[in-house]
């Protein structure tokens, strides 16, 4: 039963491949979709480091470096202290880009996820693709950012490149939770605006990013403990300039971030399954 439409397809093989590689096909779909806004991605990836490093590294550092102690990275300067935080903030920003409106569009505006699910891809594979695409973009963006940090002399330790992984972990943790949340949104997008204002922005400002968490009043410090960005930043500081902290705390940063990723990812799978299969 060959048709005018070209060679017949081996359906059994198609099903076998989809069961095995479906998560990658879902990721691939998102990567291709990025071409539509490649310009803004590149501008963010290359432009933001330059802007932030000049503003904070040259400008703000001139005020801060008059003081001393932890905030000047034990003598390395404010820029070295703030570099892992900048990397983490860039990761969270890029993660938001890929895990909010882009995910809502797949369910609601373009409904492409329903099309993927009508093909052999499973809801779990689609959710996994949504998380995996963020990991790939973060690895690329953080590597570029790291090169700028090197150029600005903000990476004294030879282990500094590990900051890339720390920031990617932090960004992915935020992304996994946001993918789950965005997948659950059916109505208008105002809850997303609230998440930005009440969760993401405070997280960026109060996670021991621009100044040590300890400078905050004690009752505000728990914000840091639950914030993936704080864990990613502290982890990054250990790598970036050998910030001294107990080894169990370093391990706790990694474990916490992995746990948040796992929970967010599992929630995303469950919500996607309910949404597509209901």
């Amino acid at each position: 039963m060959t048709t005018v439409l070209g060679a017949p397809v081996d359906h059994a093989e198609a099903a076998r491949r989809a069961r095995r590689w479906g998560f990658w096909y879902a990721t691939e779909h998102r990567l291709l979709g990025m071409r539509a806004y490649a310009g803004t991605i590149l501008a963010a990836t290359f432009g933001n480091p330059v802007i932030y490093l000049f503003a904070l590294g040259v400008g703000l550092a001139s005020l801060v470096d008059r003081s001393a102690g932890e905030i000047t990275a034990d003598g390395h300067g404010y820029l070295t202290f703030v570099a892992p935080a900048l990397l983490g903030i860039a990761a969270v920003t890029a993660a938001m880009d890929e895990s909010t409106y882009a995910v809502m569009a797949g369910f609601k505006w373009d409904a492409t996820y329903f099309a993927m699910n009508a093909a052999p891809l499973s809801p779990a594979q689609i959710a996994t693709g949504n998380v995996l695409v963020v990991v790939l973009r973060l690895l690329a963006a953080c590597t570029v950012y790291h090169l700028f940090l090197l150029a600005f002399g903000a990476v004294p330790s030879p282990l500094g490149w590990l900051t890339i992984l720390a920031a990617t972990l932090g960004g992915t943790a935020v992304a996994a939770c946001l993918v789950a949340f965005s997948s659950s949104l059916k109505g208008e997008d105002s809850p997303l605006a609230l998440v930005m204002r009440f969760v993401i922005t405070p997280m960026m400002l109060f996670s021991g990013t621009f100044f040590p968490l300890a400078s905050l009043p004690l009752f505000l410090q728990p914000i840091g403990w639950v914030s993936p960005l704080w864990h990613a930043t502290e982890l990054g500081r250990v790598f970036n300039y050998g910030m001294v902290e107990p080894i169990w705390l370093t391990a706790a940063h990694v474990l916490y971030l992995l746990a948040v990723i796992a929970i967010g990812w599992m929630l995303a799978v469950r919500i996607t399954r309910r949404r597509l299969g209901g």
């Binding site: 048709t3 439409l5 397809v9 359906h11 989809a18 691939e28 779909h29 329903f114 052999p120």
Partner: protein
């Protein structure tokens, strides 16, 4: 003939509400099968269960000999799905939509290139390959969605209201393409509101309402069973129809009074019209037409609006 779809007492409940309430039917290979019904009848829910993306809450369902609860990917690898609203990827260009969709079936990029070109040719979109999706007209988007559904050479094509919202030209082009697929042996399952579409395309159909099957058969069988050969429509003005209709009882098989006109179901419309004029009544307008699937549909599902 072998059944490619077999549903037995198929049921889908959301809490207390039964969207599909125990329907049974079979679809044979190569057949064009229609699901007709008003909004909310359970057509789309049924289609989603046939597409192996929504699990049933009761009954049995076999698609291509497989159970959708266990073999979703294996079934979906052999289906083409055209959903009610287009879900094309607007971030991708026309041809890329086909390439990316083919990847979901694990097809290699090398095989997909020529296949995408053949599909664009079939969908009469070859000159639009590089266009953005948003630049296409409604009919073109629909044809692209159908081309996309064919990328895996499906054995069954599921179409949920394929021509809703299209202009007459676009509908006729689409019907022509669907007819060719049928000629090539693809099994078609479609839902529609348009009775002319069902008469054009379907070998056999079921009328569903409130989640249950009201009638089943070929279009001609259904018309013979639930309507008459001809229908006479006469108008006496909105204020007189009811009063006049009392004088017409006994005409034809059945007389139905609507606010704007009176319908007489009969074997011979001209004869009934002569009888009416013979009674000294003079309708403002009169029309004799062949009975259609629409008459069957309205008889079975009622005339009140379903919202």
């Amino acid at each position: 003939m072998t059944a490619v779809i077999a549903a037995e007492a198929l049921e889908k409940r959301y809490g207390d509400v039964a969207a599909v309430d125990g329907i049974s039917f079979e679809v044979q290979a190569g057949e064009a099968f229609g699901l007709l019904g008003p909004n909310g009848a359970g057509k789309s829910t049924t289609m989603r269960m046939l597409g192996a993306v929504s699990s049933r809450t009761g009954g049995t369902l076999s698609i291509l000999g497989l159970d959708p609860d266990r073999s979703g990917p294996e079934i979906r690898a052999q289906l083409g799905v055209v959903p009610q609203t287009d879900n094309l990827d607007r971030e991708l260009r026309v041809r890329d939509n086909l390439l990316v969709y083919g990847r979901y079936f694990g097809m290699s990029r090398r095989d997909l290139g020529p296949r995408a070109d053949a599909l664009l040719e079939f969908a009469q979109l070859a000159d639009r390959a590089k266009a953005k999706v948003d630049e296409l007209s409604g009919g073109m988007k629909r044809r692209l969605t159908i081309a996309r559904a064919l990328v895996n050479d499906p054995r069954i094509l599921l179409l949920d209201e394929p021509t809703t919202g299209l202009d007459p030209q676009a509908r006729h082009i689409l019907w022509d393409r669907l007819f060719r697929l049928k000629e090539q042996g693809t099994t078609l399952v479609l839902t529609t509101h348009y009775m002319d579409e069902a008469e054009q395309l379907c070998d056999r159909l079921v009328v569903v309402d409130k989640g249950v099957i009201m009638a089943e058969g070929s279009p001609a069988e259904l018309i013979a069973r639930y309507s008459s050969r001809e229908v006479l429509e006469v108008r006496f003005g909105s204020e007189h129809n009811v009063r006049v209709a009392e004088q017409l009882t006994g005409l034809g098989d059945r007389v139905e009074v609507l606010p704007d006109r009176i319908l007489v179901y009969t074997d011979n419309g001209e004869r009934e019209l002569a009888a009416i004029v013979g009674q000294g009544l003079s309708p403002i307008t009169s029309l004799v037409r062949r009975s259609s699937l629409e008459d069957v549909f309205l008889r079975l599902t009622g005339r009140s609006l379903v919202e």
